[in-house]
């Protein structure tokens, strides 16, 4: 580009600094060599969707000055115990590499990765300007690692442990929270909701009291309500709050809390409410009109009538996570009161019960789809569904972008006519042209995949379980969904044919997960041999796949594209293409 070379580098760099989206930056880097160079030196934020797709060395070589690093590790189905313990997603090589290459690193965000206390300590000591640590569904660390972060990260703004598993090494006086030095005042966001053990309340109170910029505080269950009132009075500027346990209803606590809440004029998001005595709910009524986000999905003690009273006052609610105690009646009230609702998640209170324990059916979702014009993201667990309902929902909400429906019993047909739900889900993909994420359930044949392949042009992530009849199903999806990035399948009769015929497609996706399907070991071998830019991982806890016939189906299969070749940290139950392994070219 002749024009490009007439601009001094500084000018280009300045222009590029306004461009933040990865997609745009990637595009810029392909214009010409000099733009590629300027862009790579100035990229500050990197997102790696699969930590095994690229190595730390490659990352550092290309982007020498990264300030914000985000990594994702295990496949999504790890959330449901489908990925055996020890599979991988260790972050330590990344931290080790970054500790020398990126001294100015400010933010680390990890999802489904394994991080050790040693890594946490290394983070705390290597990055002088470290500001943000988000560990989402991570594991492998304890409160000792947190103590190191607290003690050494002078500029820490955000510590968010959302849904991680933290081992609690409860040393009596060495409580990790008290490791924040007395002159540390920069905390903006603290989420410790996942911690099982008690936190030192004195340390917490003092911390909250001396951090004037604190806007997010998500407490864990062990913080009782009377203590909460104290914290709220110290931090009335809070915007997001997660309460602790609240089971014993006491009038003195009630009035104290009421007073405290009334002082929080900025509060927009509430969560927590473990074991809350419904008698306490009135303390939050004054804040309800300001609330945009409400997470009641841990609140198993609040029944339908109280839920209705609560949500009916939340006229500005945009996001609601709730248990199915809300029932159809509650969802109807929601649809009448919360016209700004964007996201709804309804979780099952008794997921393993055979009989329905609540009056929650497809009708609840239909009501919300009718009454809430901005609703675009849904996660819904229920026990019955019909094609009619799905069609209605699709027509009501063509703006749907994320639709995850879980009918609890696998292969449940349309309860009205006992047919498959192909047509219903077909309506969803047909009408919702911007649908990016879809999870299927219920009785489904290959036909539903035909619809998905035909209409799901913007679909990026698809989750399939107990569905389909043959390889045709898989083929429809792989050949039709142009923007597919992640596909996860379990317990479906999909085998080798569709997979091998669409091998090239796999390089355009981040990953494919298939478990309890019919893909044979031989096909995996072939795929691994012929596609050097894919890692084909056979996860099989029954022992070496080579000891069984090649036609034998593998237990689990995880295929992902990568430019860094085989990984070196595979456990014994993972087999891939390797000169020495059974999958090799021998």
């Amino acid at each position: 580009m002749m024009m490009g070379s007439s601009f001094p580098e500084e000018v280009l760099e300045h222009v590029f600094s306004f461009i933040e989206r990865d997609k745009d930056r990637n595009a810029i880097s392909t214009v010409c060599q000099s733009w590629y160079e300027i862009e790579r030196w100035s990229r500050r934020r990197v997102f790696v969707g699969n930590c095994y797709a690229v190595s730390p060395l490659i990352l550092i070589k290309r982007f020498p000055d990264v300030r914000c690093l985000e990594l994702k590790g295990k496949p999504h189905f790890a959330d449901f115990n489908l990925v055996p313990e020890g599979w991988g997603a260790y972050v330590s090589p990344w931290i080790a590499a970054a500790s020398t290459a990126y001294p100015w690193l400010e933010e680390i965000r990890l999802k489904r990765m394994v991080i050790s206390d040693d890594s946490l300590e290394l983070i705390s000591k290597s990055f002088k300007n470290f500001k943000v640590l988000v560990l989402s569904s991570c594991e492998g660390f304890s409160t000792e690692g947190l103590a190191a972060i607290a003690a050494n990260c002078r500029n820490l703004r955000e510590l968010d442990l959302r849904e991680s598993e933290v081992e609690d090494l409860n040393q009596s006086s060495g409580h990790w929270l008290s490791h924040f030095p007395d002159n540390y005042t920069s905390l903006v966001s603290l989420n410790i909701a996942c911690l099982n053990s008690e936190v030192s309340f004195t340390a917490l109170e003092r911390l909250v009291g001396r951090c004037p910029n604190l806007r997010t505080l998500r407490l864990n269950r062990a913080v009782p309500l009377d203590r909460l009132a104290i914290l709220l009075r110290r931090a009335p500027q809070l915007v997001e709050l997660g309460t602790g346990e609240a089971s014993d209803l006491r009038p003195d606590v009630f009035s104290n809390l009421s007073g405290a809440f009334s002082g929080c004029k900025e509060l927009k998001s509430l969560s927590g409410f473990w074991d809350v005595a419904p008698g306490y709910l009135p303390v939050v009524y004054p804040i309800c009109p300001r609330l945009t986000s409400l997470n009641l999905s841990y609140a198993a003690t609040i029944q339908s009538s109280d839920l209705i009273k609560l949500v009916s006052q939340c006229h500005n609610l945009q996001k609601l996570w709730v248990l199915d105690y809300i029932e159809d009646l509650g969802l109807e009230a929601l649809s009448a009161s919360c016209k700004d609702l964007r996201e709804l998640r309804v979780f099952p209170s008794e997921p393993f019960g055979v009989e329905p324990n609540v009056l929650l059916t497809e009708q609840g979702l239909v009501s919300v789809s009718e009454g809430c014009p901005k609703l675009h993201s849904v996660l819904y667990f229920c026990r019955q569904m019909s094609n009619d309902a799905l069609r209605t929902i699709a027509r009501n909400r063509p703006n749907m972008t994320r639709f995850r429906l879980c009918i609890i019993e696998p292969r449940t047909p349309d309860y009205l006519n006992h047919q498959s739900l192909d047509v219903g889900f077909g309506a969803i993909v047909e009408h919702c042209k911007d649908l990016r994420r879809l999870s299927l359930s219920g009785l489904l044949t290959d036909r539903v995949f035909e619809y998905i392949g035909t209409y799901g042009k913007k679909l990026e992530m698809l989750s399939v379980a107990f569905a389909g009849d043959s390889d045709l199903g898989l083929h429809h999806v792989l050949s039709g969904c142009e923007n597919l990035r992640k596909l996860e399948i379990r317990d479906c009769p999909f085998g080798d044919k569709a997979l091998l015929a669409n091998a090239a497609k796999l390089e355009t996706m981040r990953s494919l997960w298939m478990s309890s399907c019919s893909v044979s070991f031989g096909a995996c071998k072939l795929l691994g041999q012929k596609m050097p830019r894919l890692n084909v991982e056979v996860i099989d806890e029954r022992g070496p796949p080579g000891s069984r016939p090649e036609s034998c189906p593998v237990e689990k299969l995880y295929i992902y594209r990568t430019i860094s070749g085989q990984r070196f940290d595979m456990p014994g139950f993972v087999w891939t293409k390797d000169e020495n392994s059974a999958l090799g070219l021998s």
Binding site: F80, A277, S297, G453, D496, A503, G522, I563
Partner: protein, 248 residues
């Protein structure tokens, strides 16, 4: 039933064939074979090698990241399915096929790793472990409540309901009452309700619950002060209640 595949399958003009099915990986299943290929000649072997040797220089690191614009370089799949009048796909599921599938599914049904649900399938329904734990805890509490129902302290309670009636006696009052504990979540509301119940019988009771102390009999037959224990402990073990006049 003939599957009318109205899909316009992408035909790549540069005909970069990429069907690994050619590689003689013989599916046992003749039915699937009939439906999805094979229909290729040996020239595809060269094509495949070409694709594998795609100019590696062109592949930038951007491809490892989200939404890379380089994706278009990757070859498309060939039309996989050729339909002619003789094909009758999915007419009948191959019984052999079904067998394989069923045994595969059966093999995966196991005691769902401590889900507490004996016949559970692993990882289904798809909820995270910590949510499952929460559900279990709550089920334990409900089970206790239902246990009360089964122990005979029921007053017209149906099995499906969660009502939990226990006998209440007030000191000095001949006739006992029954109260549904499932309607309460705290001692405050419970004692208020009880005082209301007994008001007509007691002149001393000015709806002032401070005049009376609530005691309960637990499963071991011991009488305890209700206020001494958290509500949760109380509700799990209470068998019957008594209101004692508090002296001075």
């Amino acid at each position: 039933m003939e599957l009318q595949l109205g899909l316009a399958l992408p035909t790549n003009p540069t005909s970069e064939a990429f069907d690994l099915n050619y590689y003689g990986f013989e599916a046992n299943n003749k039915e699937v074979d009939r439906v999805i290929g094979p229909c290729y000649t040996s020239s595809y072997e060269e094509d495949i090698n070409d694709i594998i040797n795609i100019d590696n220089n062109k592949r930038s690191f951007g491809q490892a990241f989200e939404n890379s614009t380089r994706d278009r370089v990757v070859p498309r799949t060939l039309p996989l399915l050729l339909w002619n009048n003789n094909n009758h796909p999915n007419e009948e599921d191959d019984p052999k096929d079904l067998e394989n599938h069923h045994s595969l599914f059966a093999a995966n049904k196991n005691v769902g790793d401590g889900d507490g649900d004996g016949d559970g399938v692993v990882g289904w329904p798809p909820i995270k472990s910590w949510r499952k734990r929460l559900c279990h805890e709550n089920q334990v509490v409900r089970a206790w409540n239902n246990q009360m129902v089964e122990n005979g302290y029921v007053w017209g309670g149906r099995r499906a309901s969660n009502s939990m009636y226990v006998k209440v006696k007030m000191e000095g009052v001949v006739i006992a009452r029954k109260v549904d504990l499932s309607q309460h979540h705290s001692f405050e509301t419970l004692t208020d309700t009880l005082m209301d119940m007994f008001r007509k019988w007691s002149e001393a009771c000015e709806k002032n619950s401070n005049n009376y102390k609530l005691i309960y009999q637990d499963r071991e037959g011991d009488w305890l002060f209700a206020q001494d224990v958290p509500w949760r402990t109380f509700i799990r073990s209470v068998q019957r209640l008594k209101l004692l006049k508090s002296s001075g």
